[in-house]
Every structure is written in C-alpha cells, then in structure tokens.
C-alpha cells in the first residue's frame, strides 16, 4: 500500500527515515531499509540533514522505489533556487517518487560547509505552493507542463517549541502549510506525551494527517546532546535516568519507544520513527506496541 493509500485508509500509519551518508556507498542503507520494508508504509530520505554535504535524497529515494519501498523525498530550500527545485521535483516524479516532504532546511552554518552561500529563495510554505502548481500542470511562472506530477505533499511541525511565541508561530505556520497544500505532517521528536496531547488539542480539526515523531534514544549522551543542541527536542530527565540505570541500553530505548507509540495511537494518525541506524529494532517496537 502506498503512503497516500495508507493515510486515506484511516489506519495508524508508520513511517521511518534513512539518511544517506557522505560518499557513494548505499549498500548498508538499503540493508537498513530492507529490514523494515514490510513493517512501514513509507521511508523518508533526508536532504543533506544538518547541512552536512552527503549523497542526495532524490537518488536514494529512487533506489527505494526499486526495492518496492514508498519513499518520502525530503526537499529543503537551502541549496536550490526555484528553477532547480522545480526541475528536481519533475525529475523525482519521473523517477517514480510520489511523496515529497517540503522543508525550509537548516542554515549552512550548522553543517560541515559553514561558509556555503544559503539560497532560501523559497521556504517550506512557498515550496508546498509550488508543488501544488506543478501538480496542477503549471510551473511557478504559469507555463504549462507537458506531463504533470501528482505528488502527495507533506511538511513538518515542531510541537515542542520551547516558548509560547515559538509554539504559536509553529501552529500558525502549520495552518499556512495546510493552505499551501500539505496533506500530512511529521513532527519533530516527541518524548513528553502530555505536552504532545496539548499540542494535538490545539490543532484539532486541522485538515491534515499528523504522524508523531519518535527519535530512538541510543544513549544518555545522545539525550543530553539533543537537549542542548536540537531545537524543540526535550528529553525529560526521568527518561535519561531510565536509560542510565538500564543494563541493556537498547532494550530500555525500545521500551521508551514502545510507550511513545502506544501513547500516540490515541492522539494522532501515525508515527514517524527516526531510528538513526537502529532500523533493525523497529519491528520489535511495532510488535510490542501491537502494530
């Protein structure tokens, strides 16, 4: 079943994510994807995440279609102007890619080429708008296309924004993204189900499917790093202590993820699991959570 069909069916949707590396080696990534192929509805492919130069998301998304996985092609506005973005979108469709996640993208200063010139001619909202135009058969300039795509456009939202202004801005932007055509949202990593429930109440009635983000906690160090450095991600201290006290860290991480999946089942339309190389643990998480 495609991601589109899965979202429309009303079932609790599961997506995962793979991140191409620096270089041309894709074998291990395909192995990671193969492990979860039968268990997820789609797999995101990140676009130079954290502004680190890597193999591109279009190429790997295409590889996923080759092995029968429905990819979510992540596209950021950091590195391409509107000509390149539109052309890449057409190319992606021609290569069999049907889902696009429209992102603004991190600033180059965050990555390994910090002096790179950022583009940001478009942003996540205007990119969604452009995807809508391409879907309707015209480009940004109003020129007619010969053969048009039919992308399922998605976007992201950060329910853990750390103050009232930031959260209000996230929710207002989410509404604008829906106006611009976003059909589904994948959220930033969530660890606090109570806060997530409050967020879901605020966006009740929004006309889009929401998949709660789950980042597998691989270690205490990783949790502390994210708390310090990743905007909108907050791992509560009890969870950090749970990992710290556990003899088997992986098992503790799986237990936490299972509780999050179970909690989200009643709150939103699916989960987006960011396993960061621990894709092999996703089937066990889903089994235990009864999915």
């Amino acid at each position: 079943m495609s991601l589109k069909a899965a979202l429309e069916s009303g079932k609790f949707v599961v997506t995962a994510e793979v991140a191409p590396g620096k270089g041309t080696d894709v074998e291990h990534l395909l192995e990671d994807a193969a492990v979860i192929k039968e268990r997820v509805d789609a797999v995101n492919v990140t676009d130079l995440q954290s502004s680190v130069m890597r193999l591109g998301s279009m190429a790997f998304s295409h590889f996923l279609t080759d092995v029968g996985i429905d990819p979510v092609y992540q596209v950021t506005c950091r590195d391409r102007n509107c000509l390149a973005l539109q052309s890449d979108l057409l190319s992606a469709w021609a290569l069999g890619i049907k889902n696009v996640l429209a992102l603004t993208g991190d600033h180059p200063t965050m990555g390994d080429h910090p002096k790179a010139r950022p583009v940001f001619e478009l942003d996540s909202v205007s990119l969604l708008d452009v995807i809508g135009k391409l879907n309707s058969g015209v480009d940004m300039a109003g020129n007619e296309l010969k053969g048009k795509p039919d992308f399922l456009p998605g976007a992201v939202v950060n329910p853990g924004a750390d103050n009232e202004a930031a959260l209000d801005l996230q929710i207002m932007k989410m509404e604008t993204k829906i106006k611009a055509g976003a059909k589904f949202f994948q959220t930033q990593g969530v660890y606090d189900l109570d806060a997530f429930e409050k967020f879901m109440k605020r966006v009740e009635g929004f006309d889009a499917k929401i998949l709660g983000g789950i980042i597998l906690l691989k270690s205490v160090g990783m949790a502390r790093f994210m708390n310090k450095n990743v905007a909108g991600v907050f791992v509560p201290e009890p969870l950090i202590q749970e990992i710290k006290a556990a003899e088997n860290k992986a098992e503790a991480s799986i237990n936490i993820a299972v509780r999050l999946v179970e909690g989200m089942k009643d709150l939103c339309h699916g989960v987006h699991i960011m396993a960061l190389g621990w894709e092999s643990k996703i089937p066990q998480i889903l089994d235990t959570a009864g999915l």
Partner: protein, 218 residues
C-alpha cells in the same frame, strides 16, 4: 590597514576623501577618520623612506555627483589617486566621474543598518524592493531572519535565539511579540507568500525628475 597601505603604495599624492553622510554618522569615514587615516599613511611612508603627500577633504554626500565634482575639480592636479572613505556607492561615484584617476576603497562596506546602541550597529535593510514592515511589526524578516523567511519562523530557534548564532534573536519571534503588542497577530495568518527577488544591479528612473534634464550639463 595593511590592505589600504598596499593599495596606495604606488601613489605619491593621495586625496583622502571622506563622506559627510552615512560613514560620518557611523564614525568610519568622516572628517576625523580622514585626518587619522591620512596621518597613518604619511607616517608609514615616512618610515619606509618613501614620503607621500596627502590631501584631506570631505564631500557632503559621496553618492551624489553634485557633491563630489566641485571638490575634485578644485583640487585637480594636486592628487594622483582618491582614497575614498565612503561606502562602495561613493567610491564608484568618484570612479565614474574621474575615469582617469584611480578610486580606491578605504572601507569594506558591510551593510545598511542602524545604530542599535552607542558603538553597536546592526543590519536592518537588504533593499529588497518590496517592503513588508507594515505587517511585520516594523521588524524586517528579509534582513533580520538568517534565512529571509517570508512565511513565519522555521523550527530552528532555541530559547528565542536563532539557530545561526546564540547572540541573535529569532526575528520571527520578535515579529510575533511586536504584532501581539500592536494587537495585529492576525497579520501572521496569511496566504502563502512567494517573494520576488530584485534583479541586480538595480536601477531607478524617475521620469518626473528627469524633465528638463536635456539642459543639464554633465
């Protein structure tokens, strides 16, 4: 300073030309800075055993030809090179008016900004040609947001600070607070905005001001 000394090393008669506009206001190229720079150049060249003559002058506005021409004409034949302490527009005005003289930039023009407090300046305008300040609480997202976002905040801010630098406030959170204060938060619930970026180099022609231009002697 080293860069300036290298620029002028082939010249023996230098006109150090300040500007009475922006670079005077931001203490980078007014009368005082002209005097200091001319002195430093003379001292350096004396030390190197290659003395130099310096002239000092300040134009009213170096980006206005009318302000530059009389001064340069009055001092004609007294200098081989103009070391301009104006912004890049001023340097180019000099270069264009006197194509047979070198016009050298003494300053690196950084941005169009304003004095945040004494001795602190911030970039505030990118001259994008499509001002949105009326609906952003007087805070420019094109300039003050590191990504020039037009449709609201990205998810990168942490504790109100931009992902690019902890000493930089998130422009969109500032816009939010300003609009909330003005009771105009609904301005943020807008249709998707796509910005038309200007084509460089910019040019403006005001026909109403050009009437009678044919009689003007350039």
């Amino acid at each position: 300073m080293e860069e300036i000394l290298t620029m002028v090393e082939e010249f023996d008669r230098i006109l150090v030309l300040g500007c009475g506009g922006c670079t005077t206001v931001c203490c980078a190229g007014g009368a005082r800075e002209v005097e200091t720079l001319a002195t430093l150049i003379r001292m350096d060249r004396k030390q190197k055993g290659k003395p130099v003559e310096t002239l000092e002058a300040v134009t009213e506005l170096q980006c206005e030809p009318e302000s530059v021409k009389p001064i340069l004409e009055k001092l004609a034949n007294q200098y081989d090179v103009v070391l301009s302490m104006a912004c890049g527009a001023g340097v180019q005005t000099v270069a264009q008016l006197f194509p047979n003289h070198n016009a050298l930039p003494a300053l690196n023009t950084l941005f169009t900004g304003r004095a945040e407090e004494h001795g602190v300046w911030t970039e505030n305008c990118l001259a994008c040609g499509d001002c949105v300040l009326w609906r952003t609480g007087g805070i420019c997202p094109v300039t003050r947001c590191a990504k020039s976002l037009m449709n609201g905040a990205c998810g990168g801010a942490s504790e109100g600070k931009c992902e690019v630098s902890k000493d930089r406030p998130c422009a969109w959170q500032e816009i939010y607070h300003a609009l909330k204060r003005l009771d105009k938060l609904h301005y943020l619930k807008q249709e998707p905005q796509v910005k038309d970026w200007p084509v460089h180099p910019g040019k403006v022609v005001r026909e109403d001001l050009r009437e009678g231009e044919a009689t003007r002697v350039d």
